[in-house]
Each structure stands twice: as structure tokens, then as C-alpha cells.
């Protein structure tokens, strides 16, 4: 009755040789993938999910090694195949799609050459036929202008197009199995949505099985049939999508869901819950259940007694969990209450931006930005790459000077005042949190000295003992142990570094903090912790937070007001509720629809944008969004700048669409009434 599995991992264990012996990356991993099935592999960074894909391809590098178990592809052990067989499997029966399309394509070969290779070497097809097939495949992955693309080099096309090329390359040999390793992580949200849609269509159309590796629960939910959640190299829970998303049966999975900012979360009434603690180092794995030390249901002498096996959950189909207490925990009970916050009260206008414009040669990076932020308020600036949000941050910080317009901080004009000419008060009043946790701290200095430098430099304290005291207090504030003061940045995890970044930004008790994508490089559970921290400190200090992000789910959770930008212009702004509910600007609508939702209680309307983000050096005439807009009114949108419509008090949309049409838009998400 059951179909023979296409891919089976049996008790697979992978280790990497390190300087001090082997480091286990995957332990006792089991997987069964049926033909036509899409299986999601979810986990945070370092959980071993990519190693599994590479092990299937038998490409673990010099250091990596399968130390135990089997990988059976169509019943044959991949590890036992000879080189010739392996070559036939690679790129033939199994194809892989990678996280960074740019790096995965050979920079010195044309795309055509790289595509043509596949049929030529797998099926011995002649050059001409191979070229024809490659072109045909480009059409199928919806690449316009295939002939030009064939003769282009990878760097000449956009990231989204590159990923389509990688997909086309994978599909050219009609593989039975596709391994997708975070295929959309490096892409913009709206582009990601297009790729995800393509992948979904392909699996339907070709009947290809997929192993979809991602850190994003929402994506997996939208693309896969089954899911396996991994933690520290072990699968902790596995089952059909619906079962797992509806009733997670492992504390870690539950923790992941709870820290994911779903539309239901609210920073005041239903704050996110992060998973306490940190990933254990691969060298110091705790005894028994690996998740034990972070688990709220941890039972001494049971959970840490011996390794916990993954086992089917009684009464379910094929849903299994690696939890000893799976039958004891009341999974459906409401999580331990987290104190909700009172809604913030906003003060006077702290920051006023008016018609701010910044050009770099022909590129207009900021074009007439106007908005304001009040004391204690969180204003999110949302947009995809090239929208000008980082330029705006730099103008604000005095690293760039605007061409025209104004930025006023407590009445002081800043738009053309470089940081070197700002007075200490202004500098103290305006601080920034940076995007990349690995870059935000100077690797050469200790944490303590870096915070202390800010305290001294901003004139908060001069006395050495008091500075030291304050450093420790700041570490307390961002919930880091005090002994971190003596540590170097490289001894800290990404989340910890970002906390130090937060501490540093708040050290001078600033009035306004600009946070430039502070969460985007962090894992979900860490994201939750850092955002909670941000909110808490902001509340305490009544700081105005300018939160720059491309991630709408985070924005929705964190922000009080939202400003949506596209190619240097503001498309829409309003309170969070206003922006996330109709009437939408068409771009906002598409952005919202592109966000994968992990919460089973919501459904999402499909809105797909065509094309790519145009180059900022040559923006479209009229409405800058008109080239991708589904509602485009020909002759108007592509000629005239859109009017600013005040659809509600404090809610502005820059669009040609009549107000009625805007008002008639349906919400993108809708709660499923149980």
C-alpha cells in the first residue's frame, strides 16, 4: 500500500573534524520522503539542517563525515555509491538550490554555458539541443528575455533572477528530488514571495519531491506537506504540517511558535515569549534532553538522565516528538502568563521630518520624506532594498547631508549638520542600533570598554568608578551577565552582541534611537528576546524609536506608527492598525501578502507582484511603484506623481486610485474562526 520512499535517512549522524576532535553536527536523524512530497526542515542556525542536505549530496567537505547511519536514495545507499554513480545522482536525480544564488553561480561563465552543461553532461545532449532546453526552462521559471539572459553573466541580473536561474538549472535534468537550502533568505520579501510561488508551482507541476530547509516557519507552512523541527543536530519533532502547526508537541517547537510575531501577537496585551537561555555549544551538549536546560517542563533526573529518543505520539498518525513528557504536558493550556504592558502614552513631537530629499548624482535616495515621531513612540520605516531607509538613517545621524528639506530634533535643524559639527547634547540625544550583530561591536575591544567609552564620550559620567558602575547597570538592563564586561565580542552570540548594541545605544539616555534592522540577522527566538528588551527599555526611558525594517511581521508587532517607503518615497503612513488594515496602498498590500504566516489561525490572500524592484538610478516616471502595481491606471500612474490622500486622520496614502477603490480593499489576512 505504501509507496516506496524516495529518500530515507536512517539514524544519520554527521560530524565535522575540529581542532580538538570531532564536533557532532547531526545525531541520529531519521527522515522518510515519499515521491512528490515536500518536507520542511526547520531550525535555528547551527542546528545541522544544511549538513543533512549536503550529506545527501555526499558533499560535506574535507572536514565533514557521516559517522553513522545510512542515506538511502531510491533504496540505494548514497554513501556506498561509486563516483560515477554519484555524478549521475548529483544534478541528475537530485538537484540542489542554494541560499546565495550570486555566490552559487560561476561569475566567469555565462548563464547559458552554466545551464547547458546540465543536459550535456547528464544526458549527453548536443550543444544546440541543450541550449534549446535551457531556453525553454528559462521560460518555465518565468524569466523574460531568455535570449539575453542566456548570454549574460550572473552579476548582470538581479538576485531574484539569479535564484530563478539556479532553480532552472536544478530542474533541467528533471530531478526526482530537490534540496532547497534557504532558497529565499537573501531576497527581498516581495521577490521571495515570487520564488516561493514558483517553487510551489514546480512541485505541483513536476511532481518533484522537495526537502525544504528554512528557518522560517511561515515559509515551510506555505510550501511543505511535512515538517521536521531540528534542535542542536537532532530532530525534535516531526509530522504533517497541519498537525505540528496546530498542536506542537515539543517544548522547543512551542517556543518557536511563541516567539514568532504572528498577527495575533501584540506588544501590549500579548507580548512574544522568547525561549530562555541559549543554544548549547556543540562541544558541551547537555546530558539527556538537549533542550532540557531551556525547557520550562524540565524534570530533574528524568529529562537529564539519558538521551531521549524521538517517538511517535500516541494517538496521532505519524506525528512524533523527542520529548519524554509528551504525554504529561498540557499542551493546550495557555502558556504561563506574561505580564502585559500598559499602552504607551506618547509625548510631544520629538522628531519632525519635512520634505527631506537626498540625491547621489542621478539617484534620488530620499525624495520628499515627511513624517514625525513623538516622544515614547515607535515609528517603523518599512521598505525593501533600495528604498532609501538606510540613507535616511545616515542623514539623521549626521553621516550624510540632505540636499533639501529638514529634520528637526527638539527644534534643532539637523538635515545638513554633520556629526562632527553637532554639539554633545545633540549627539547624546540621538543614537543608533545597527543591523549586523557581527559588525556592530569593535572586535578588538572588550564589551565593557566599548560601553564605557560611550558613557565617557557622551559626557554621562567621567569618574572611573562610576563609569564602571554604569556599565554594569547597562549590562543588567539588557539582561547580560555582568562578567560580560571583560569579554570580547567574538565570545558572544549574535543575540548577545545585539544586546550590547542596545546597551550602547541607550548608554547616553538618548531621546531618539534609530534602530536599523536590528533583528533581521537574528534567529526567531533571539529576535523575540531582543525585541522584548527593546520595548522594555524604550518604555522605561520614554525614548522615541525609529525602527527601520523590511520585516512586516516584526514591524506590526513593534511599531506604533508605520511609514512605508518604496524607491525613496513614502507610499503610505499611519498608525500600525491603519496600515495593516484596508485601505492599503497597493504596495503595502503586496508587502503584507508576501509575509509568510506561521500561525494556523490566519489565512492570507495571495497578491503577487510582477517584476523586480527598478533601479534607483532610473526610477519610473509618475508613481514609482507603477511598474509593478496590479491596479495601475495606464496613462495616469506612469505619468503623474500620485496625490497624497488623507484616508483617515493621520493615515496617508500616496496613490492615484480613487478613495472608494482603496476603501473597498479586502484585508490581506483574515483570522480563521475556529
Amino acid at each position: 500500500m505504501s509507496v516506496a520512499p524516495l529518500l530515507e535517512c536512517k539514524n544519520l549522524s554527521i560530524s565535522y573534524a575540529g581542532r580538538a576532535g570531532d564536533v557532532p553536527a547531526v545525531v541520529g536523524f531519521n527522515l522518510t520522503l515519499k515521491p512528490g512530497e515536500a518536507h520542511g526542515l526547520v531550525g535555528e542556525s547551527g542546528c545541522g539542517k544544511s549538513s543533512i542536505a549536503l550529506a545527501v549530496m555526499r558533499y560535506l567537505g574535507r572536514a565533514g563525515r557521516v559517522v553513522a547511519g545510512q542515506i538511502l536514495f531510491r533504496g540505494r545507499d548514497v554513501l556506498a555509491m561509486n563516483d560515477a554513480e554519484m555524478r549521475r545522482v548529483r544534478g541528475g536525480a537530485i538537484a540542489m538550490i542554494y541560499q546565495e544564488p550570486m555566490a552559487s553561480l560561476n561569475p566567469s561563465m555565462t548563464i547559458g554555458e552554466q545551464l547547458i552543461e546540465v543536459p550535456r553532461y547528464h544526458e549527453g545532449v548536443g550543444h544546440r539541443d541543450a541550449a534549446l532546453r535551457a531556453r525553454a526552462m528559462l521560460d518555465r521559471v518565468q524569466m523574460a528575455d531568455a535570449t539575453r539572459i542566456m548570454h549574460s553573466y550572473p552579476h548582470q541580473i538581479s538576485g531574484g533572477q539569479q535564484q530563478r536561474i539556479v532553480i532552472a538549472m536544478a530542474l533541467l535534468s528533471n530531478p526526482q528530488l530537490l534540496l532547497l537550502d534557504e532558497p529565499t533568505t537573501a531576497l527581498d520579501v516581495t521577490v521571495e514571495a515570487g520564488i516561493v510561488d514558483l517553487i510551489r508551482r514546480i512541485s505541483a507541476e513536476f511532481g518533484t519531491s522537495m526537502l525544504y530547509i528554512s528557518h522560517n516557519l511561515g515559509l515551510v507552512r506555505e510550501t511543505c506537506d511535512r515538517i521536521t523541527v531540528m534542535y542542536c543536530g537532532e530532530a525534535v519533532e516531526s509530522g504533517p504540517i497541519a498537525d505540528v502547526f496546530r498542536g506542537a508537541r515539543h517544548p522547543y517547537t512551542r517556543g518557536l511558535f511563541a516567539s514568532n510575531p504572528s498577527p495575533a501577537a501584540d506588544k501590549n496585551s500579548r507580548p512574544l515569549r522568547s525561549i530562555p537561555g541559549q543554544l548549547p555549544s556543540p562541544r558541551a551538549r547537555p546530558p539527556g534532553c538537549l533542550f532540557g536546560p531551556r525547557c520550562e517542563f524540565f524534570a530533574v533526573d528524568r529529562c537529564d538522565a539519558q538521551p531521549v529518543p524521538i517517538a511517535p505520539i500516541a494517538g496521532s498518525g505519524d506525528h512524533s516528538s523527542r520529548c519524554l513528557r509528551v504525554d504529561e504536558i498540557a499542551w493546550d493550556a495557555a502558556p504561563a502568563a506574561i505580564s502585559s504592558r500598559a499602552a504607551a502614552v506618547f509625548g510631544e513631537v520629538a522628531l519632525q521630518v519635512n520634505a527631506l530629499t537626498k540625491r547621489f548624482g542621478s539617484v534620488s535616495a530620499n525624495d520628499g520624506l515627511s513624517f514625525e515621531a513623538r516622544r515614547g513612540e515607535t515609528v517603523a520605516i518599512v521598505g525593501e532594498s533600495g528604498c532609501g531607509k538606510s540613507t535616511f538613517a545616515k542623514i539623521l545621524m549626521g553621516l550624510l547631508q540632505a540636499n533639501s528639506g529638514s529634520v528637526q530634533l527638539a527644534g534643532l535643524e539637523l538635515s545638513r549638520l554633520p556629526v562632527t559639527r553637532r554639539n554633545p547634547q545633540t549627539i547624546r540625544a540621538l543614537q543608533m542600533i545597527f543591523q549586523n550583530p557581527f559588525d556592530t561591536l569593535n572586535p578588538s575591544h572588550s564589551i565593557g570598554s566599548q560601553i564605557a567609552r560611550v558613557i565617557r564620550k557622551l559626557g554621562v559620567q567621567r569618574d572611573a568608578a562610576k563609569v564602571r558602575e554604569q556599565v554594569l547597570e547597562l549590562l543588567d538592563l539588557v539582561k547580560l551577565p555582568r562578567d560580560f564586561a571583560a569579554r570580547r565580542p567574538r565570545q558572544l552570540s549574535g543575540g548577545q552582541k545585539q544586546r550590547v548594541g542596545v546597551a550602547r545605544a541607550f548608554a547616553g539616555r538618548p531621546d531618539v534611537v534609530v534602530a536599523d534592522e536590528p533583528l533581521s540577522a537574528l534567529d526567531v527566538s533571539v529576535q523575540a528576546a531582543v525585541s522584548e528588551l527593546l520595548i522594555d527599555i524604550q518604555r522605561r526611558e520614554r525614548t522615541t524609536l525609529l525602527f527601520i525594517s523590511h520585516d512586516l511581521s516584526v514591524v506590526r508587532y513593534l511599531a506604533d506608527r508605520v511609514v512605508v517607503m518604496y524607491l525613496g518615497q513614502i507610499m503610505e503612513q499611519g498608525s500600525t492598525e491603519q496600515v495593516f488594515a484596508p485601505p492599503y496602498h497597493p504596495y503595502t498590500e503586496a508587502l503584507l501578502a508576501a509575509v509568510p504566516i506561521a500561525d494556523q489561525h490566519y489565512t492570507k490572500r495571495k497578491v503577487l507582484l510582477s517584476g523586480e524592484i527598478p533601479s534607483a538610478s532610473n526610477p519610473p516616471v509618475g508613481c514609482r511603484f507603477c511598474t509593478r502595481c496590479a491596479y495601475r491606471i495606464p496613462g495616469t500612474c506612469d505619468r503623474l506623481a500620485p496625490p497624497l490622500q488623507q484616508v483617515a486622520p493621520d493615515h496617508q496614502i500616496a496613490c492615484h486610485l480613487p478613495r472608494e477603490q482603496l476603501a473597498a480593499m479586502r484585508p490581506v489576512f483574515e483570522e480563521v474562526t475556529p
Binding site: 538537484a95 542554494y98 555566490a103 560561476n106 566567469s108 552543461e117 553532461y121 549574460s152 553573466y153
Partner: protein, 316 residues
């Protein structure tokens, strides 16, 4: 590309002007005037001259003119293609330059002829399989040969090949006209170091490429190993070594000084060395200009090679 050439040419002219002015200024000192006088009259001869006679002598040799006037004169002459005369050798600088450059070019040609295939092959073989036994042997050999100063190699090769085994002449003056045998020792001396150096660079580039994601893509496409190496890896791995080979042209101008002086090969390096020691300003000026031209042109060639081999730069 044209922009690049123009920019480099302007840069070259600017550097040439600066350097020639600098050199003139340096050689305009009393110290160098006296050096010239000693070179011509000898220490005893000059000691017989009274102060007036010494000045008269300087006047006669045109060494007493004001610095700027001499520089202007020289510039004018150079603009007309007249590079001046060597005081030491009593030959037109252009002739001297032509002959010595030709000799060095011959040497450089053979160096490159040996260097390119050997070093690239060894470097690729080593880098292809990082950590393998072959890699280790090649890498160790390369680091050792790059650690031996060329003076030591030169003398040791002379002891063994010339005076010990008698296979080749000890010196490369080529008094009986051009032949290849006297070229062997200078060639080997240069090659031993340069091969090691280029092997190391090629290996580093190759290992980096082999660890890249696009090689992973190529392997996981199921391509045969030779195709991965020849088509995917080499093209990218050779970018750096090839640009280095062009830059090596410039480096050779410096390296040949030692080798040519030791083996008495009548090339550019020895001419430079003699002229600098003698204070033969016209030769030095012209040679420096040539060296600058070589430096800039080799830089240009290297940029061009980089651009050509690197579509990312080519189609910007």
C-alpha cells in the same frame, strides 16, 4: 577600458615629471658634482686642481649651470626624443637603453617561458586538493625556494653548475656573442624564486576557488572532475596569478639588478646599477623613466588582464 588607458597615461606622465624633477634635484648637489669629477679625473687628479680650475672644469662639463635651466634643457631634449649621453660610457643613452632593455627582455622572456607553465601547473595541482600529499610537497618546496635569497642561489649555482660540473659558464657576459648557455644560471636563479612565489599565489587562489559555492554548484550538478577544474575553477583561479604575472614584469626589473650584476649580464639592471653608482644622471633619468613606464604599463596590462578575465568587471 579607454578611460583606464588615458587615466594611466596621465598618471604615468605625472609620475615621470615628478620623479625626473626629484632625480635632477638629488643630483644637483655639490656632492654629486664632486662625484662626477672624481669619476672622470680620479682622486689624485682632482686633488691637483686648484679651486678655480675645478670650477672651470665643472663649467666645461656643464655641471655648473643652475638646476632649473638644466632641467628645462633636459626636458626639451627628451621631448625631442634625445635622451642624452652617458658620461660614463660615452654612448647615446638611447643606444645604451635599447641594448640593455633588449637583453633584459630576452632574459625576462625565458623567465616567463619557464615560469608560467611550471608555476601555474604546480600551483593548480597543489590548490586543487588542499591538504593532499602533493599539495604538501609543492607547498613546502615553494616556501623554501622563496626563502632563499637570490644571491645565495646565484653563488651556489655557480659553484655547482659552472665551476663544479663545468656545464655552463660562470658569468654571462656573452663576450662571444649571444648564446643560451650563459643565460642558464641567471635564468635558474630568477626562476627558483619566482616559481615558488607564483606557485604560492596560484595555490592560494585555487584553494579559495575550490572552496567557493559555485564550485559546489558545479560538483553538485554532477559534472566530471576535469570539467569542474578546467572549466569552472581554472578560469576564476587564474585571475590573480595572471595579473601577478604582469605585475611580475615590473618586479623583474628590480630582481634582475642582483642577478645581472652578479652574472655580469649586460642588461637593464646592471646598467641601472652602474649608472646609479657612477652618478650617470642622464642614464639614470632615462632608465627611471623606462622603469616607470614599465611599472605603469605592467599595471595597465594587469588591470586589463583582470578586466578581461573577470566578467564582473568587464560588463559593469
Amino acid at each position: 577600458m579607454r578611460n583606464l588607458v588615458v587615466r594611466r597615461a596621465i598618471q604615468m606622465l605625472l609620475i615621470m615629471l615628478t620623479v625626473s624633477l626629484l632625480l635632477f634635484a638629488i643630483f644637483d648637489s655639490d656632492q654629486f658634482r664632486e662625484k662626477a669629477a672624481v669619476a672622470e679625473l680620479g682622486g689624485f687628479g682632482i686633488a691637483t686642481l686648484s679651486a678655480d680650475d675645478y670650477h672651470e672644469w665643472l663649467q666645461k662639463k656643464g655641471l655648473n649651470e643652475p638646476f632649473l635651466a638644466r632641467y628645462a634643457q633636459w626636458l626639451k631634449a627628451v621631448a625631442h626624443g634625445d635622451l642624452g649621453r652617458s658620461v660614463e660610457k660615452d654612448v647615446a643613452v638611447a643606444t645604451l637603453l635599447k641594448e640593455s632593455l633588449a637583453n633584459t627582455a630576452i632574459l625576462a622572456f625565458f623567465v616567463l617561458l619557464g615560469l608560467i607553465p611550471i608555476a601555474l601547473t604546480l600551483g593548480v595541482l597543489a590548490g586543487m586538493n588542499e591538504g593532499s600529499r602533493l599539495d604538501r610537497v609543492i607547498s613546502v618546496a615553494a616556501v623554501i625556494t622563496t626563502s632563499i635569497p637570490q644571491i645565495a642561489t646565484a653563488v651556489l649555482l655557480t659553484v655547482i653548475l659552472a665551476l663544479g660540473l663545468g656545464w655552463v659558464p660562470a658569468k654571462s657576459a656573452m663576450t662571444d656573442g649571444w648564446s643560451f648557455r650563459p643565460l642558464v644560471l641567471p635564468l635558474l636563479t630568477l626562476l627558483l624564486y619566482d616559481i615558488g612565489y607564483l606557485v604560492r599565489m596560484t595555490r592560494a587562489a585555487m584553494t579559495e576557488v575550490m572552496a567557493s559555492q559555485y564550485i559546489r554548484t558545479a560538483v553538485l550538478k554532477g559534472l566530471p572532475p576535469w570539467r569542474v577544474i578546467m572549466k569552472h575553477a581554472l578560469r576564476n583561479a587564474l585571475v590573480v596569478p595572471v595579473t601577478l604575472i604582469f605585475l611580475e614584469l615590473n618586479g623583474l626589473l628590480s630582481q634582475v639588478v642582483v642577478v645581472e650584476v652578479f652574472f655580469q649580464y649586460a642588461g637593464f639592471g646592471r646598467m641601472l646599477f652602474d649608472a646609479a653608482n657612477f652618478g650617470d644622471i642622464q642614464v639614470l633619468q632615462a632608465a627611471t623613466l623606462v622603469a616607470i613606464a614599465v611599472a605603469v604599463v605592467s599595471q595597465l596590462l594587469s588591470d586589463a588582464a583582470y578586466t578581461f578575465l573577470n566578467p564582473r568587471v568587464r560588463f559593469k
